[in-house]
């Protein structure tokens, strides 16, 4: 794994966490009277949206230089990271069941993406041409 891919991966994970954090702060800070759309104009929520747009763009870039089967399990750590941010910075009561749930989901997401092309082909690693051949057979 080259340094560029690692750097991008760290950026993807951090941008996602920071974006969700800011969005969460902003949406809860919005006045109760504000409608669903007006609440999005809360500065922290706007910052969250901008960070999440940056996250999607950087993730596209990462997918350009790294395999999806590398990207998916690593970014699945985000489920635990988001729970940790809730507990550490948002004062959320994260129960043992919730920690376990986040951990199971991370494991599940990782396992789902550990499917190589042979055996059961991962849909993302299978080329459309090969798929059509398979259907014709």
């Amino acid at each position: 794994m080259n340094a560029r891919a690692l750097w991008h991966t760290a950026g993807v994970v951090l941008l996602n966490a920071a974006g969700n954090f800011a969005l969460s702060v902003g949406m809860k800070r919005a006045a109760a009277a504000a409608g669903p759309i007006m609440a999005l104009l809360e500065p922290a929520a706007m910052a969250g949206i901008v960070l999440l747009i940056a996250w999607m763009l950087l993730r596209l870039r990462l997918l350009q230089i790294a395999d999806l089967s590398f990207v998916l399990p690593i970014t699945a750590v985000g489920y635990i990271l988001n729970a940790a941010i809730g507990a550490a910075f948002l004062g959320e009561q994260v129960s043992l069941a919730r920690w376990a749930g986040a951990a199971l989901i991370t494991g599940g997401a990782a396992l789902t993406s550990f499917t190589p092309a042979e055996g059961a082909p991962a849909r993302e690693s299978e080329s459309p041409a090969r798929r059509r051949e398979g259907e014709a057979a």
Partner: protein
């Protein structure tokens, strides 16, 4: 609690529709209308997620939306007729168990 799960369901349903439309469009034709429609579903999914964050903990909202892994694995098998191996089913079952834990 109920409003939270309704919004989770909206996020998951919209995400699944978007991914299904993208995969179907890019492989079986109709990309010219399926991909733009998928973007609409993605926007609806994100909007639902922002509303979910208004009433729910971040430590609940993000893991709960992982239920889309389960729904999408089922739809990949049933609608896209993709071969789904034991690792993929195992991953979906783990994710489902995780979401059930969030409900406790």
């Amino acid at each position: 609690m109920t409003a939270q799960w309704l919004l989770v369901a909206a996020v998951v349903a919209c995400t699944a529709c978007a991914d299904l439309l993208q995969s179907h469009g890019m492989r079986r034709g109709g990309a010219r209308w399926k991909v733009p429609l998928s973007i609409c579903f993605l926007a609806a999914s994100f909007f639902s997620f922002t509303q979910l964050l208004r009433i729910a903990d971040l430590s609940f909202a993000v893991p709960a939306t992982a239920a889309s892994i389960v729904v999408e694995t089922l739809l990949a098998r049933l609608v896209l007729r993709e071969p789904v191996g034991w690792k993929r089913w195992g991953g979906a079952v783990l994710a489902a168990a995780g979401v059930v834990l969030l409900a406790l």
